[in-house]
Symmetry: C2
Subunit: 212 residues, 2 copies
């Protein structure tokens, strides 16, 4: 689930030597993000303008937009969806795919939160407070949904574009997102992995003693 609390599970691994250009790009990207996080903590999201971000990151405003299409993306973007997909594919193929998802989400949440508890909290808080951010996050939810479609299709042999698979994937994604929201709304009490576990139960088995 992008921008939620996911983390790199496997390290970037072996890359020969990116060349100065690439390294500078990465540095700029992180400078912008760092500046944004800092400013948002200081003044709040809306009060933080792109110009301020640019100034603190020591780049021009145009550069900021070259790196991130929207302001919300600076706070939200991560590249974990891809990692998640890989990990999903790496699970034993005879494992129930619901279990695969459970394992991966839990692992991601655990390491993610350990890695950067403050960032995770800031992000989820913004999710609750700033409509634009929540909105953008929901956008990314549909990306995650498509991703899940692929995974589900692979395991069950169904058509990834079928209504059934898509509905199921999206309902999963929606439920997982709500979990993050719930966590943030309740002041980040309790540990997130435990919440995730409960949420996944509901998503797998419904609401318990129900009447379906």
């Amino acid at each position: 689930m992008s921008s939620m609390t996911a983390a790199r599970i496997s390290p970037p691994a072996d890359r020969p030597r990116p060349g100065l250009r690439e390294r500078k790009k990465i540095k700029t990207r992180e400078a912008i993000r760092a500046a944004t996080y800092a400013l948002v903590e200081e003044q709040g999201y809306d009060a933080t303008t792109i110009d301020q971000i640019a100034e603190r990151a020591e780049v021009s405003p145009s550069t900021v937009f070259r790196y991130f299409p929207t302001k919300e993306d600076i706070v939200l973007t991560d590249e974990y969806d891809l990692v998640l997909a890989e990990e999903l594919r790496a699970r034993p193929k005879d494992e129930a795919w619901t279990d695969s998802i459970r394992h991966i989400m839990l692992a991601a949440a655990r390491t993610g939160i350990k890695d950067d508890f403050e960032v995770a909290k800031l992000r989820t808080r913004l999710l609750v407070d700033v409509p634009a951010v929540r909105s953008r996050m929901m956008e990314s939810m549909s990306v995650t949904g498509r991703l899940l479609c692929g995974a589900i299709a692979e395991r069950t042999g169904r058509d990834p574009d079928s209504l059934e698979v898509r509905v199921h994937a999206m309902s999963l994604a929606g439920g997982l997102m709500e979990t993050s929201l719930y966590w943030a709304e309740n002041g980040h009490q309790g540990d997130f992995p435990a919440l995730l576990d409960r949420a996944l139960d509901v998503l797998q088995h419904g609401l318990g003693e129900e009447d379906s």
Copy 2:
């Protein structure tokens, strides 16, 4: 599900006489919406500016914003969530609440599409084409989610704010929204109520021969 394909199930009913002021407000509101629909059909969503909308609706741009907080809302806003909630409450209380939802959604979809097939198509098409609209729609999904929380809580006696109920509600909302998207992406083939029916099956019973 707001902005999807819902329709008034029960007519506005008995209101004494709204007074000229109220009537004018409603007329203005609908003028703005009509103007927007027309312009969007002619030129596309992005190419349509607020000024154009204002001009065609014969109001000032500021008035447009007085009636709709954002451009997306002009296309999306409807008041059916409330109606839906009422209808939900009107269902027999001993009915399985999943069945209640099924009945209401199906009824709403049927009459809604009959009422205004073109608008329903335009809306869902925008949902697919325009990220901002899709985004806004997802926002409203969370409103629908909260609504479902209330309904579910009433029937099951659970806490509407509990993680379990919220996750379940949101997964429902997500699945239903994906159904609209699916319908639109496939060129509005097949009838929507049938799709809804299949989607609700998945949401109630999972993906069939699975391993949970």
